[in-house]
């Protein structure tokens, strides 16, 4: 059991536990922090998979930008444990949990006996994940999606503006 395995199991455990924290914790702030931990764990996986570019972007965009945005909003509304609306509807509470669990169950059960079970994932080798390669592809082959995603941002921007702008 090499160091990679150990890291893998550690990161996985971290990710899952903190994810559960996100769902479980009463206080939104804790959830956000837990989520950040999760993202770090996932970034760690990326590193293991030698996808350095994505690891970095994940940290920057998700843990950095997005979660901070969340944090801002929560702070703005100063939400905390007692302002948290409790799930009174037991059916939805248990139903939801069971449904999610059984979804996992079904898929795992289905995948147990799949032919791809023995496929191996190349850890910490290969260089497709390196920034230079991805950058090259991104600005050659994927230039169109890259450009068109600007439309996405524009609309998001407009949206943010016209929604949060105070009506004159």
């Amino acid at each position: 059991m090499g160091v990679t395995q150990i890291l893998f199991w550690f990161l996985s455990a971290l990710a899952v536990i903190s994810a559960i924290m996100v769902v479980a914790s009463k206080n939104p702030v804790y959830s956000i922090l837990a989520l950040i931990v999760t993202f770090f764990a996932i970034s760690g996986h990326y590193v293991l998979l030698n996808a350095q570019f994505l690891a970095i972007v994940n940290i920057i965009v998700y843990a950095g930008a997005i979660m901070v945005l969340f944090l801002f909003v929560v702070m703005l509304m100063n939400l905390n444990a007692d302002s948290e609306p409790p799930q009174k509807n037991k059916y939805i509470l248990y139903g939801g949990t069971i449904a999610g669990a059984s979804l996992l169950l079904v898929l795992v059960a289905a995948l147990k006996q799949t032919a791809t079970a023995d496929q191996m994932v190349e850890t910490n080798v290969g260089h497709i994940g390196l920034i230079q390669n991805l950058g090259k592809i991104l600005f050659t082959d994927y230039v169109f999606p890259f450009e068109i995603s600007s439309v996405l941002f524009l609309s998001a921007m407009i949206g943010a503006v016209i929604i949060s702008k105070k009506e004159a």
């Binding site: 939805i92 449904a99 979804l103 079904v106």
Partner: protein, 648 residues
């Protein structure tokens, strides 16, 4: 073919013209005019009938084809008229008696206002037209046209005074009962079509007189005994409807609601004999079906007896005559049943004379009594209305079967034939004859003898009817006296039965058939004499008894009891029918209408709509408005889809 008989289309056509003129112009025409038109057209066609009759007598018979009524690949029905001995004889009776009754009506209906007067004549003409069609029709369908036509006319004429609903009920009853008859008739015709593919009498009528046995073989080859029996029975059902036999006779007495001339013409002289005509027309089939014949004979006898007994207790003068008509018709069916077709036709003729006479006489009486029909309020009319009285008496004697009056010969012929086939028939027949004699003279006695029992103003209105009424009476009286002489039995006079000879061709094949099947022994003269004697003597006794009993009849309010009550209530037949047919039908219909239709079928149809509405209301509740619930449902659905896709 350029046959002089081509002109026979005129015979029905003239009355039709009369009908149209009177019908369309009933507002404009004066009474005299419409009366004149009505009668003259009948007279005209009567004259033609006479001509035709002599043509036929010289052996010139024909089926005259005018146009194709139905002409398809599956069925060919020509609009044909068949002129032969049988039909020509009936033509004479219909137009002749019809004409007299028209004359009679001109005076009898004179109180009606002119448009109703015209209407009446229109209907009469229409009736004559249909009756002629019935008789002349060259196949069952044309016959059926007339058959229904006369039914319609009788409906219209019974309900002539439609303001009074009881008349309308009577009319409706008549029509519906006839329809029940038609039910049988039509089925028979369908059966014929299905088996023989034709509705002409042709196959078994006089038309193919030449190859007699040939036709029989054809019939036997195509029709099983079952078919023949079935067809003939169904035809007979039709006959019972038209000719008022058990079980469908009850309409005829009610039909007396109509004006008296109508009763005389339709419900005595002509229409009711349609059944006899039809059976005589299809004699071969019937001869081939012994079972049916037996049925007919029994039914006929039963009817004769039952009707006669009922007649014993009736007080309405017309009702009595009506029931006597029914029982006389019973005789005719007896004759048909025992295969004495000539006898039947003979009796039809004589009956036409004397029954018309009696009805018209009764009509004259009623006319004089100012519409009074209850015999208990009559009596002693003989000194007021001599002609009516004489003629009526002659009529009674005739129907009682006194020699040498007409009915004596015809009835004798029937009874003789009955005796031949089965003595029991004869016994009942004679018994009935006695009863007939009795009630006829009860009628005579209560009406003309004794002293007047009506109100005073009635009394001093009493008078002999005008000549337009008496003249037909006289003529008919003469006819009913001498009418029988064309059928004098062998025992009295060799070759005296000219009618038999005349009609021979029509019934030749059946006679041949009968002869071939079971050669009967001819009655010995002695027995025949004996039979006549018995009937005559018995009748005489009945007459005398009745004469004594009712010449001094007093009105008694005493309620009839026992048998008398039952008879007075006509064996409760009407009530019986009500109970077993009319009431159940009404209630079933009600059930279907209120329960099955509304609650059942329609309920179901609307139920579907309601179900949709209801489920709509339920489905809405899925849309709780809560995102969590929505997404939960989505995930559950996802699960299900996964399970289906991956594990099923």
């Amino acid at each position: 073919m350029s046959n002089t008989l081509q002109i026979v289309w005129l015979i029905p056509f003239l009355p039709l013209i009369g009908f149209l003129i009177n019908g369309l112009g009933r507002k404009q025409l004066s009474k005299t005019l419409s009366g004149f038109i009505g009668s003259s057209v009948i007279l005209a066609s009567f004259l033609i009938c006479v001509f035709v009759f002599f043509q036929v007598k010289n052996g010139n018979t024909a089926i005259v084809h005018y146009f194709d009524f139905i002409n398809t690949a599956s069925l060919k029905v020509g609009f044909d008229f068949q002129i032969d001995q049988l039909s020509s004889l009936f033509l004479l009776i219909i137009t002749g008696v019809g004409f007299l009754i028209h004359i009679y009506s001109t005076s009898y209906m004179h109180d009606e206002e002119s448009k109703d007067f015209a209407k009446f004549f229109a209907y009469l003409n229409l009736f004559v037209f249909s009756m002629l069609l019935l008789v002349m029709g060259g196949n069952y369908i044309i016959m059926f046209i007339g058959w229904e036509g006369v039914g319609l006319c009788s409906y219209l004429l019974i309900g002539f005074w439609f303001k009074d609903n009881s008349n309308n009920d009577a009319a409706k009853k008549a029509f519906v009962m006839n329809r029940i008859g038609d039910f049988g008739f039509l089925l028979a015709v369908f059966w014929l079509i299905a088996k023989l593919g034709t509705v002409n009498y042709g196959l078994h009528g006089v038309a193919s007189g030449s190859e007699d046995i040939g036709v029989l073989t054809i019939l036997y080859s195509k029709l099983s005994t079952f078919d023949i029996t079935g067809i003939t029975l169904l035809l007979f059902v039709g006959a019972t409807g038209k000719s008022a036999q058990i079980p469908l006779y009850t309409w005829l007495p009610d039909a007396m609601a109509g004006p008296t001339p109508v009763s005389a013409l339709i419900h005595a002289a002509t229409m009711v004999t349609a059944g006899i005509y039809m059976i005589a027309r299809s004699n071969i089939l019937f001869t081939m079906a012994p079972f049916t014949q037996c049925v007919i004979a029994v039914i006929g006898l039963a009817t004769a007896l039952v009707a006669a007994t009922i007649a014993l207790q009736q007080n309405d003068i017309k009702k009595v005559l009506a029931y006597s008509t029914v029982s006389q018709l019973g005789y005719m069916f007896l004759a048909l049943g025992v295969g004495a077709y000539t006898g039947a036709v003979f009796h039809v003729m004589t009956h036409a004379f004397f029954k018309a006479l009696l009805f018209l006489g009764a009509g004259s009486v009623i006319h004089a009594m100012g519409g009074e029909q209850d015999m208990r309020n009559m009596g002693g009319l003989k000194k007021h209305m001599s002609i009516t009285h004489i003629t009526f008496l002659l009529g009674c004697l005739t129907i009682a079967g006194m020699p040498p009056f007409a009915a004596f010969f015809s009835k004798d012929q029937i009874l003789a034939a009955a005796y031949e086939s089965n003595p029991v028939y004869w016994v009942v027949g004679v018994l009935t004859a006695f009863i007939t004699a009795f009630y006829m003279f009860r009628l005579y006695g209560m009406t003309f003898l004794g002293k007047f029992r009506g109100t005073h103003d009635q009394e001093h209105h009493l008078h002999e009817s005008p000549s337009a009424i008496t003249l037909p009476l006289i003529i008919l009286a003469i006819l009913s006296v001498i009418g029988g002489w064309i059928g004098i039995p062998e025992v009295f006079m060799h070759g005296g039965d000219r009618l038999e000879a005349f009609l021979e061709p029509v019934f030749a094949k059946s006679n041949a058939l009968v002869a071939s099947l079971h050669p009967t022994h001819e009655l010995s003269h002695s027995t025949e004499y004996a039979l006549m004697a018995v009937s005559v003597v018995g009748a005489l006794i009945a007459i005398v008894y009745a004469w004594n009993k009712f010449s001094k009849y007093q009105k008694s309010t005493a309620e009839e009891t026992g048998l008398g009550k039952i008879l007075a209530n006509k064996w409760y037949v009407d009530e019986f029918y009500n109970a077993i047919i009319v009431k159940p039908m009404q209630s079933i219909a009600g059930f279907l209408n209120n329960v099955v239709e509304k609650k059942g079928i329609d309920g179901f149809v609307n139920g579907v709509g309601k179900a949709v509405n209801y489920s709509s209301r339920q489905f809405r509740l899925l849309q709780t408005g809560q995102v969590s619930a929505y997404m939960l449902l989505m995930v559950v659905a996802t699960l299900i889809l996964f399970i289906i896709q991956l594990f099923l």
